[in-house]
């Protein structure tokens, strides 16, 4: 298993927990700014490592995040 640093864990965790941040990362126009906002040295490399790791399993960040399941219940009467 590949070994990852605390920074890798923190960045991926933030992506999985913070939908707004994930949206900014997935948008190539806002990605750099979002990564810089983390104040993590080599944030871009950390991000690339995560993408590469997921790609090894044929996964992307979007794949890891399921959508909120809302509005599926409707009561009548």
């Amino acid at each position: 298993m590949a070994s990852f640093s605390a920074e890798h864990e923190r960045l991926l965790g933030k992506l999985l927990l913070d939908q707004e941040f994930l949206g900014r990362i997935l948008d190539s126009e806002t990605r750099m700014e979002a990564l810089e906002s983390l104040n993590v040295p080599d944030a871009e490399k950390v991000y690339d490592d995560i993408e590469d790791y997921l790609a090894e399993y044929g996964e992307t960040l979007e794949d890891l995040v399921d959508d909120v399941d809302a509005g599926v219940i409707a009561f009548m009467g």
């Binding site: 990852f4 864990e9 965790g13 999985l16 995560i50 399993y57 995040v65």
Partner: protein
């Protein structure tokens, strides 16, 4: 056949009377009971109560006694049905407890009597089966004691199984079976906790389960971004792996124990737990997503964010705030209809204070007040000027475009009347001017109205009114030191405290102090404690508690306050109307003014305050 379908026929037959019982609950439990039933059906997809608590991922509490008996012996079918019903009521009581305690659910404390009823129903069934001398009683007490202690919350779901073994005269190994079922509950609990990891981490909610995971993975509890790091470690470093394998070892031990005891019927459930452990572990690994199926990484709904968004949407849905208008239709002043839009102004102020830019709406509202010459009612020919309306207009002024012309002239006229009305001791009266013949004005002497006006003067032009503000505020805080929240005539105590706190903060910002003011904070804190103790614990009271507890004299916060607010929010983003102030009714009587709009505005404001504080 899936493990949870093995005894489906028996379960459905046994629970048919429960469905009837839910339709005929005692009157005080009918409404919470119907709501609880609707929520159970919605969550499970079942068509009636015989289909709940029996999904493939549910605890097998309703069927477990059948599994246990398969290998241990037989009991009368009627007794088995009774045990199923007792297990149902037990599961329902435990489920309802969790819903009440879940800060993200909409189940409120109003469901407590129903929860008590459900436990009592289970108890009554067990009491009908087992005599006082039965060994069952020991296990009953122990199981509920474990539930009340916290971590053993599934323990009461063992009772139907233990009872079945006693009925089957299979008592020699009861302790071992109890241990075995406890182990299975621990495995189930681990899987449940793992399923909720993402939801809990999103909410920044810690638990013994999460702390153990962090400890296992070298993440300190006080580490910044601990939630993000743990979430990342689950995916990148298989943080769930070692704990899951430790749980599997316990499961293997349980499997051996059940074989030794001859409880062969447990095998399908043991196999299910084995598979569920695999799936929950795989869910966090990029290599295991297919195996895990979907949904385990589904994010939680951010209830705080949702509450704020929907409350804002409700308030913005009608910027005239028509529902909040104070309308009199019983012949006040001899007219068919008299309207005050004062409460609408308070709602508008909340939106402006919390960041909405609505200059056009504010201008239109203040122009409306100008047309009634800053009187309380929308009656140009009958002007009853008051300090509250004037204070509101002054507080709103800077959120508009500060218009000149007629509106400004009317405002200056009202300010001049106010200036002439100041009493010799510096106090500003509530009513600015004499009432017309035959009209008696109530509510005079309210310190909160005076504080509202001072907040307006401070916002409008502090330098111009400084002398007046200092005299009035000195008297007001003197009275507060003597009477506490009793300075208010019209407004609720916690709201009154919040206004005093807000005024103190505004004076501090303006660099205004006066001799003797240092003692008011002590009185304030004592009053706040007393009022919080007296609070009726409604959403609006919680909102006022937050507003009153943030300021120069008090800085306290209880996590329960926003939870109480959020749990009572309606689907349209509003809250039910709660009493706010007295208004006249039928001439000589008073009624409470209450509106959904104003209660919503206060709930919204308080939730915004704690969001700003990083809750």
């Amino acid at each position: 056949m899936r493990w949870n379908e093995v005894y489906e026929r028996e379960r459905r037959a046994a629970l048919a009377p429960v469905e009837i019982e839910f339709r005929t609950l005692p009157a005080p439990l009918r409404e919470p009971g119907r709501l609880f039933r609707a929520n159970l059906l919605a969550a499970s997809g079942a068509e009636d109560l015989s289909g709940v608590f029996s999904g493939p991922e549910d605890h097998p509490g309703l069927d477990l006694h059948h599994f246990v008996l398969d290998g241990a012996g037989a009991i009368l079918a009627a007794r088995a049905d009774e045990l199923t019903r007792a297990a149902f009521f037990t599961a329902a009581a435990l489920h309802l407890s969790r819903s009440i305690e879940d800060p993200d659910s909409l189940t409120t404390e109003r469901a407590r009597p129903l929860r008590r009823y459900l436990e009592d129903r289970a108890s009554a069934i067990f009491t009908g089966i087992f005599s006082a001398g039965s060994p069952f009683r020991k296990y009953y007490k122990r199981a509920w004691a474990r539930d009340r202690a916290g971590p053993g919350r599934l323990a009461p779901l063992k009772l139907a199984s233990l009872g079945a073994l006693i009925l089957a005269d299979w008592t020699s190994e009861l302790e071992r079976v109890d241990d075995l079922l406890e182990t299975l509950n621990a495995v189930f609990s681990f899987i449940e906790s793992a399923r909720g990891i993402r939801r809990d981490l999103q909410a920044g909610r810690s638990s013994a389960f999460l702390l153990e995971l962090m400890l296992n993975n070298g993440i300190a509890a006080d580490e910044p971004d601990w939630a993000a790091r743990l979430m990342g470690a689950l995916v990148l470093s298989d943080a769930l792996g070692a704990p899951a394998e430790a749980v599997r070892t316990r499961l293997d031990g349980a499997r051996s124990a059940s074989a030794e005891l001859g409880l062969v019927g447990l095998a399908p459930y043991l196999d299910h737990l084995d598979g569920a452990l695999d799936r929950v572990r795989a869910a966090f690994r990029p290599s295991g997503r297919e195996q895990a199926g979907s949904g385990l990484l589904r994010p939680a709904i951010d209830t705080q964010k949702l509450a704020l968004e929907t409350a804002a949407a409700f308030l913005n849905s009608d910027l005239a705030f028509r529902e909040s208008w104070e309308i009199h239709r019983y012949g006040l002043f001899g007219r068919d209809e008299v309207i005050s839009r004062f409460p609408a102004g308070l709602a508008l102020e909340v939106l402006c204070e919390t960041g909405s830019e609505l200059p056009g709406i504010v201008d239109a509202f203040v122009a409306g007040l100008a047309r009634q010459r800053f009187g309380y009612f929308d009656l140009p020919d009958l002007v009853l000027r008051d300090a509250d309306t004037l204070g509101l207009a002054l507080r709103l002024w800077d959120y508009g475009t500060r218009p000149e012309g007629g509106v400004r002239e009317a405002l200056e006229e009202a300010l001049a009347v106010m200036g002439r009305s100041v009493l010799p001791d510096g106090r500003v009266p509530v009513w600015l001017g004499e009432p017309p013949d035959g009209v008696r004005l109530a509510g005079e002497g309210c310190g909160v109205v005076e504080a509202h006006l001072l907040l307006g003067l401070l916002a409008f032009d502090v330098e111009r009114f400084k002398r007046m503000i200092v005299r009035s505020a000195a008297g007001l805080f003197d009275r507060f030191t003597e009477f506490g929240a009793g300075i208010s005539v019209n407004y609720p105590a916690l709201y009154s405290l919040s206004v005093v706190s807000r005024l103190a903060a505004a004076l501090e910002r303006a660099g205004i102090t006066a001799p003797g003011w240092e003692t008011w904070g002590e009185v304030y804190r004592a009053e706040l404690e007393a009022e919080l103790d007296r609070s009726e614990r409604t959403p609006q009271e919680a909102a006022f508690a937050i507003m009153a507890s943030t300021g120069p004299a008090a800085d306290r916060f209880e996590r329960e306050w926003p939870v109480r607010i959020r749990k009572h929010q309606r689907p349209d983003g509003s809250w039910n109307a709660e009493p706010f102030c007295f208004v006249a009714n039928r001439g000589n009587e008073a009624s409470w003014y209450a509106s959904r709009t104003l209660t919503t505005a206060f709930c919204f404001r308080s939730l915004k305050m704690i969001s700003k504080n990083g809750d």
